[in-house]
Amino acid sequence: MTNQIVQGILLGGYYALIACGLSFMFSVMRIINLAHGSLAVLSAFALWLLASRFHIPPFLGLAIVLPLMAVIGWALQRFLLERSARGGALLPILTTFGLAIVIDNVLFEQFGADTRSLAPFIGSLSYDSWEWPGSLYVGKLAVIIFVTAVVLLGGLQLFLTRTGLGRSIRATSEDPDTAGLVGVDARRANAIAAAIAMVTVGLAGAFLGMRATFDPYAGATQLLFAFEAAVIGGVGSLWGTLIGGIVLALAQTLGATVHPQGFLIGGHIAFLIVLFIRLYTSGLGLGGLLRLSTGKAS
């Protein structure tokens, strides 16, 4: 059981990493980015391309891919999301849904349906492990991913609270009109926030490729994990995202021990329980929840 808990916590680091960008974009721009998973897969393919065609190892390739992801995030916000947000809350969701379909199919067109992995390009790191007391074997890559997640979330927290740009982003997320009245360029703050979110997505995509396999349509699953971890942890809370990721991973690990196919089910159940509790404690109450489920107005 200790082994499952440790592995679950470490897997939670990956989920926190992939949920971080989704949560960040929602909390700042109020946009649910349904292309989140596909963008992570795009990053994984970019690293795979650099490794397989140009012999640039994935960790070195990040120096190229992450700035590129930042530019993609900035451009997405400026030219697509900002414009679609003017059409109401639903339009950006549909836009990112469309974007996900475009990315998936462009990747399919370019790379075919074969599954790929970055593991062959990182040597023994993908399977190397440390032996911890109690005959626990902990994967080195899993530890690296977890530490990266903690450092990234901590760094983001420091950036948001200790820097002028971070404060501008927080102000924009809280009240964009008033932010403008104190001298914050809300458009710029949103574009920078989108760029930061895409860097975290790029990093998550890299680790997805290193720890598992991916194909052009792998984005939907990653989006689901990111969404579940973000909701469990509380959207907009950076450390909550880490807790959400760990809870999701522990539930999946627990599910897998109960039944061979219980891995995903365990995570979904944890997500639904937390969602129910959040809705119940949001003031809706049981009656409100029942009315929501039956579609009857109060």
Binding site: D175, T178, L181, V182, G183, A186
Partner: protein
């Protein structure tokens, strides 16, 4: 050259014309009181000067530059700061963080967090408190301090006494008098006629989006302003005598 010239400004909220061809000017170091009943267009006028509302026609000239189409954050860089009605603080942030946000425009000047805390001593013990946990008076002081942190040439104050106890209003106005005596140019929207007239050098009374009365505060009697306030004394809209 006037610091601010508003020329035949028209601002609409959908079909409603909230500001109807208003013109006036403000010189450096002056304090202009903008008074009028609810719905007279004072707040809309102030927000249009700050860039929060786009003008349908007319011009706002600030320090010789036409501000047509200039967004609100750029206007802060040019030296206009608004203390909005209802304070509009960032409630998830501390007092200090709210004040530091005022520095975003990067204008050079003497205002710092320490100076704001000296100007509003009631904020000193609340420096690290969340803005959402402050009392009304502390919130107002933070909102004014945040605007001052941008080292503005023109400070726009919208209903600074709204919702505050008389004692707290006295404190806020004592601080304002300090700012006025230091030469800060201010446009003050205020419901309380006595207070507005006591601190201002010029007064404009608005009625239904138009200037109903304009003049020097010393030369305009409270009775005249009251008549204009209720539409009993109508004067053709026009510029304030310099």
């Amino acid at each position: 050259m006037s610091l601010l010239s508003v020329e035949d400004l028209v601002v609409r909220h959908g079909l409603l014309q909230a500001v109807r061809g208003v013109s006036f000017s403000v010189e450096r170091g002056e304090t202009l009181a903008l008074v009028g009943a609810n719905g007279a267009g004072k707040t809309t006028l102030l927000r249009a000067i700050a860039g929060a509302h786009q003008a349908a026609s007319g011009r706002v000239i600030f320090d010789g530059a036409d501000l047509s189409g200039v967004p609100s954050h750029e206007r802060v860089r040019k030296g206009i700061a608004l203390v909005p009605e209802g304070r509009r603080l960032f409630v998830q942030m501390t007092v200090e963080e709210n004040l530091l946000l005022g520095r975003t425009a990067g204008r050079p000047g003497d205002w710092s967090v320490e100076r704001v805390l000296e100007t509003f001593p009631n904020l000193k013990p609340r420096r690290h408190a969340k803005a959402g946990h402050l009392s009304g008076g502390e919130q107002q002081a933070t909102a004014i301090g945040r605007a001052l942190m941008s080292n503005p040439d023109l400070l726009l104050l919208d209903e600074v006494s709204l919702g505050l106890s008389p004692l707290v209003v006295d404190r806020v106005y004592a601080s304002l008098r300090g700012l006025i005596s230091s030469g800060t140019t201010i446009i003050l929207v205020e419901q309380d006629l006595n207070r507005a007239l006591s601190v201002s050098s010029k007064v404009i009374c608005m009625l239904e989006g138009r200037v109903a009365l304009a003049g020097d505060s010393k030369n305009v009697s409270r009775d005249e302003v009251t008549k204009a306030y209720f539409g009993l004394h109508r004067k053709a809209a026009g510029g304030v005598p310099a």
